[in-house]
Symmetry: C2
Subunit: 404 residues, 2 copies
Amino acid sequence: MELHQFFLFLAIILIAARLLSETAARFGIPPVIGELVAGLLIGPSLLGWVSPDTTMKLLAEIGIILLLFEVGMDTDLSRLARSGAKPYVVALVGFALPFGLGYLVSSQVFGMPDLMALFVGGTLTATSIGITVRVLEDLGRRQSDEAQIVIGAAVLDDILGVLALAFLYQLVIGQHASYDVLGEVALYILLFMVLTPMVAKLASLVIERLEQHAATPGLLLTMALAMILLFSWLAHAVGAPEIMGGFAAGLAFSQHFGFRLWMGKRPALEFKPSPKLAHRLEEQVRPLIHTFSPLFFVMVGVSLNLRAVDWSSSHVWLMATLLLLVAFLGKFAAGFCIREPRHNQIAVGMSMVPRGEVGLIFAQLGYSQGVFDGETYAALLIVIALTTMAPPLLLKWFYRSAGG
Amino acid sequence: MELHQFFLFLAIILIAARLLSETAARFGIPPVIGELVAGLLIGPSLLGWVSPDTTMKLLAEIGIILLLFEVGMDTDLSRLARSGAKPYVVALVGFALPFGLGYLVSSQVFGMPDLMALFVGGTLTATSIGITVRVLEDLGRRQSDEAQIVIGAAVLDDILGVLALAFLYQLVIGQHASYDVLGEVALYILLFMVLTPMVAKLASLVIERLEQHAATPGLLLTMALAMILLFSWLAHAVGAPEIMGGFAAGLAFSQHFGFRLWMGKRPALEFKPSPKLAHRLEEQVRPLIHTFSPLFFVMVGVSLNLRAVDWSSSHVWLMATLLLLVAFLGKFAAGFCIREPRHNQIAVGMSMVPRGEVGLIFAQLGYSQGVFDGETYAALLIVIALTTMAPPLLLKWFYRSAGG
């Protein structure tokens, strides 16, 4: 891409995102919907001004890891721990139900071959943590109890989604899918999740010390950013989703996070939380988040090419309707598998519904590898669009009518 | 480029930039040298970890337009106007001397064909405003009288450089070079320079108004950013360097900039400066500048592939030495063509010497189009490296010994 074109596209994305999210907010609609619609509007679905170009997608990904970094910073692990097994239950059920039902509907009702049906199931599994978090934020509920469960579940869900993708990809490229490899990857991810926040905490202390003696301004921000990027790279290296790196780095900088190392019976080293550092960093990261996160949501809309859908095909509509039911109910049901007040069950279930970019990655991979035909791809695009757009509205309406 | 690779490269660049600029600062060397050396270190010249990839270059360009935006915001046009014709004289002499002498040396001493000799001249003309500004900043002299002259001259110089590049490019691709086209472009650029700050000022007032009623956070920053990007695109569209757009947008947001529209004899409309808005925006833009501007300086170092130089060729050394003299003296002499105290003449002349990325663009275009042979390209790389690296050190030493 040429430089001036890059500047123009970036400007169009920022302006469209702002115009539509502001308009949405005025009408009482969650702003994230405005940003997604902005993407549909300027992308190939409608005007075709901006295409899902590689550079823009890379920038968009900075937006999502920064968002997850912020989520990590706001996460109180002890509070998360108090929700116990609930996030695991929500993640597992919300993974297994759409996957299993998606597979069954595809193979039994539509007579798809096994691999194709498995891929449809995979496309329906993964919750878009970015959209979920943003919706809760827009509704002012990110610090609520149910949000803790949802965020924990969405992180786990993303890991399951990545494992499923790796597994199915092995099948697609004709390798014998090996469970050993899968187990190994799962182990690596587990290790990553346990160790990274601690390593990141040590790094954050080094950065804090360096900053006190820095001769040039901006050390805290750029080094924290480098750390986020490095951990995201590391996450990918062990087979986990990149956003996990952002989340882990965020945890380390969180004002709540500290830990002790024990030697024998007494603590040998104690790493305390640094609320002041956390506050200062949050202030400096915010402008970056304001700049990059709209790119992410707009690019989800841009990537969702609704022109690829043959709107006149009744087969597409039938498939879309059934799979939408599976996608919706599969996640929604997960909320009811935990012991919580009815209000929270509904909120959790609804929050897990958005598929967004993760579903798109599955669908696009399946289409580009020739696993999906055009009609199945089109039906999945409709499902992804509706599961992404509807929950923010439903949640808003739910919270208002429930007085929550 | 793959996502995880992108993250890794970005992290390496940020860390290397910070490590080396901090180290430089400790040794009393201007930090920008550290960032340039970081680029040489991790780029193809030495370790080869990061290549001059398109995406990184695009991000680097965000760094330079934001830097020029900041320069624009700090620019007091009335103060600039008080320096009168001086920036014009410095720019013209500093353009004509290296161009003319570079051409003469190339054709007379080294017997180059005309087009090649012209291209060598062109490579030696353009001052890197980014590096110049950054050096003055590092030395704490950006608000000085001589810096006003230098910034004005560097902006004009960049325009002359772009005109020369457009002219020579016409010759290279075999078109008859037309002076009409050149005049037309010059006229457009003039119009751009006069009109844009006013249009940008109007836009800034709209943004200010919108922000007061915004329902979502971050409006000021993202809309200002969109404006910077749009004006940079517009600058390119009229044939001016992109950075002019950043500068013009910066002027509009500057706490000094306001204007009146006259209808007949009395002012019909008055647009006052908004110091509060300027202050708030500057606060929010700074994290972006801290993030992006190191990318720019590091990428200059990365793009400067010193492996392409055959260090054993005495011909290369001879050419490099003579052209270095031309490049240095041509700009240095420009400082002495204005009526200023000797101290300022030296500071102005020295500040105009860095060639950096603008010289690189010329050299790379000449090389890729087959105008330059390998030896000439190598000699020019040496000249660019030394004119970029030496002035920050010389200026620092000069200011210290002159007690300025």
